[in-house]
Subunit: 137 residues, 2 copies
């Protein structure tokens, strides 16, 4: 299902690759302010969730569930935030963010808030490995 898929260059620059689920590529945002994953269906030309076939939409949300569970397991949080915005990067993608009371943007949304702060390299790698293990990918 991924023929012709190329990850948007801005998403690619802002993230580390965690791995691939059946439909989506899972990415870790390079921003240590919040444990923040992004799911990108590996299909070219999709912008809105409604651009996916019905069974793929269902799969997308099941993968969002799985990723949310994995994120919670490695980064306990007070609230998961799920968002499909795409006002800037049009390639269809869904954010799953582990929010903690008092985090940098709390209680507002993370999107467009301040500037990303870099992880220590080993910290991001450890997080990626832990999420891969949770997702068994």
């Amino acid at each position: 299902m991924s023929a012709g898929f190329e990850l948007d260059t801005r998403l690619a620059g802002d993230t580390l690759v965690v791995g691939d689920l059946a439909l989506c590529r899972v990415l870790l945002m390079r921003d240590c302010r919040y444990p923040w994953l992004v799911l990108v269906p590996r299909q070219p030309g999709k912008v809105e969730v409604a651009d996916l076939a019905e069974d793929e939409r269902a799969r997308l949300w099941r993968e969002v569930d799985a990723v949310g569970g994995a994120l919670r397991a490695v980064a306990p949080c007070d609230k998961l935030n799920i968002g499909a915005l795409g006002n800037i990067v049009r390639q269809l993608h869904v954010h799953v963010v582990a929010r903690r009371e008092g985090d940098a943007a709390w209680p507002g949304p993370v999107w467009g808030f301040g500037k990303a702060e870099a992880y220590a390299e080993s910290e991001a790698e450890q997080l990626v490995v832990a999420i891969r293990r949770q997702l068994a990918i």
Copy 2:
């Protein structure tokens, strides 16, 4: 499935009721800056999407699809924004917002941005009626 369900008082104050789908109550945000609907599963005590049973989660997202389609039909837009945040109002709810390039918060998120602007009463009512017609509720 709605025994014991009560709409959060803040959500109730900020919205007009559009109607009920099988799982969710559909609300129109009292904010004329963006055509903005909110879906609230009519079940007590739910905070995260993962708090819903698996079949209800699937139903929630199908209803989000339906509501997005209805919103697009009555309020053409450049991008739908879908969000489940809940950092302030903890009762599980999903936003579906019709975004237009150059709208008040564009390209940022609508949540927490500025102050709601009231609809003319007849305008909100017309929108509610048009959305009900689209959703056949």
